[in-house]
């Protein structure tokens, strides 16, 4: 989590307009779902790999590690579609090679989509994305809660990591029963910390005349360039068209 966040803040695209990056990644997701799975997915995957490595200059090792996790899961799960279960005459298991295109299509689509999410997560800091939720109608109080949550996640992660290390050093995670007990202690102690943290902030804010709204300065975001957005839309459309054309060729 820290690694993803750190790279999101330090890559070449960090300072690019959030709207442009959202357009690339969410547009890519839409293309993956709208186009024919078999051909569009790999095209989106390829485009995202090129963007990640050569435009955003993400470290290849990290990009493929983050992307590899869901794809590994996918490769393990998709073959299940080739097995059929039928209850009409008792339980009958069957091997269905005719489901092969469905499974391959699923792998293609989900791999393409996962690459969009990976690119977004690694290029765009979360606090830059949250305010744009305001534009799709998420109320202001939820945005405030989300920004606070985001901030606290890192504070808490550190607390818990230290607690976990301290417990491990005292053999707290030796054996199943003991692990469960230690984890319960950690979660409960952590819950107390979280609640008292909230109370401290409450008191601190009340002392400063908190009236219910947080007034924060918006970071001077770079404005999205119209030309670049047009280029992104053109690129996405091209992938979609190529996807349909390639699908025709595969079938003929």
């Amino acid at each position: 989590m820290n690694l993803i966040d750190r790279i999101a803040h330090t890559n070449r695209w960090s300072r690019r307009a959030t709207a442009e990056k959202l357009l690339v990644c969410l547009g890519g997701l839409a293309v993956c779902l709208a186009g024919p799975a078999l051909t569009t997915g790999p095209l989106v995957l390829l485009a995202n790999i090129l963007l990640a490595l050569f435009a955003a200059r993400l470290p290849a090792k990290v990009f493929f590690a983050v992307l590899g996790f869901p794809i590994g899961f996918l490769l393990a799960g998709a073959p299940m579609l080739l097995v059929s279960v039928d209850f009409s005459h008792g339980v009958a298991l069957g091997w269905r090679p005719d489901q092969f295109p469905v499974a391959v299509g699923l792998i293609a689509r989900a791999a393409g989509a996962a690459s969009c999410l990976t690119l977004l997560a690694l290029t765009t800091p979360v606090h830059a994305m949250i305010p744009s939720l305001r534009k799709i109608g998420v109320p202001a109080f939820l945005i405030e809660i989300m920004l606070l949550t985001y901030r606290l996640i890192f504070v808490f992660a550190e607390t818990v990591a230290r607690g976990y290390n301290a417990q491990t050093a005292r053999l707290g995670y030796v054996g199943w029963k003991r692990s469960l007990h230690s984890l319960g202690l950690l979660a409960a102690a952590f819950f107390q910390r979280a609640m008292s943290r909230a109370q401290h902030m409450e008191v601190g804010l009340a002392a400063r005349g908190f009236e219910g709204d947080f007034h924060v300065l918006a970071e001077d975001g770079v404005a999205a360039s119209g030309a670049r957005c047009a280029l992104i839309v053109a690129g996405l459309s091209l992938i979609l068209v190529l996807g349909f054309v390639a699908e025709r060729c595969v079938h003929v």
Binding site: I4, M80, S84, D86, A121, I145, G184, A188, Q199
Partner: protein, 224 residues
């Protein structure tokens, strides 16, 4: 039980989003009223959201040897009441997608439905049922957490079955297939999470009565 990004076809992704949206919106409306009456609950909610996120990133020992992560669904439903969960769950799931690349944006609706709506309501319903019929706190918490997980896992299996019906057995056959596969990991996991939640609740009722009372602004269920 996150469904990964892109796993569901477009129609299913949209349908589950449409199904979850009104519940999340209603939940947000309820939270808004609480926040308006008492602005400092914003901090409590943010703190709880971050707690849930970090908790879900911890590895939980499971019987099968493989480690997995607690969902915190049952604990959240018991501590905060079921109506806070859809909106806070949606926030946590969105952060998991954006910070961990875990779950996804197109599958957010489906994941919210199984983990932030079905799971918490089953947990809370069971918890209330057992508490009002005189069962012990430990039993109520264990069953709430374990069956909250089970309900989530059944919902996810059903969602996958609807998206990928079996060519012979149809949705039923496919559901049986997914339930069967996930049962290997999810049943021990649900039991482990049930036990973990009991350990946590025992400690909390013993040492954090004050904090539990402060949660009553969100729900009356926290009174143990």
């Amino acid at each position: 039980m996150h469904i990964m990004e892109g796993f569901l076809p477009a129609t299913h992704a949209i349908a589950w989003t449409v199904a979850s949206a009104p519940v999340v919106a209603y939940s947000a409306w309820r939270v808004k009223k609480v926040v308006e009456d008492n602005p400092s609950t914003k901090l409590l909610l943010a703190s709880s959201g971050a707690f849930a996120f970090v908790l879900s990133a911890l590895k939980m020992p499971s019987v099968t040897g493989s480690c997995s992560h607690p969902t915190g669904t049952g604990l959240g439903a018991v501590l905060f009441g079921p109506w806070v969960m859809p909106v806070m769950g949606a926030i946590v799931l969105l952060f998991q997608a954006l910070l961990l690349a875990h779950g996804g944006i197109t599958t957010l609706g489906a994941n919210v439905f199984s983990m932030a709506i079905v799971g918490p309501f089953v947990s809370y319903g069971l918890y209330r049922l057992i508490r009002t019929s005189g069962g012990s706190l430990q039993l109520a918490v264990f069953l709430a957490a374990a069956f909250g997980d089970m309900a989530t896992y059944c919902t996810t299996s059903l969602q996958l079955a609807l998206a990928f019906p079996d060519p012979v057995g149809g949705v039923v056959g496919s559901a049986a297939k997914f339930l069967g596969i996930f049962a290997l990991t999810q049943v021990p996991l649900a039991i482990a999470e049930g036990l973990l939640t009991v350990v946590v609740m025992n400690i909390l009722t013993k040492y954090s009565a004050g904090e539990l009372k402060s949660l009553n602004v969100l729900s009356r269920s926290a009174q143990a």
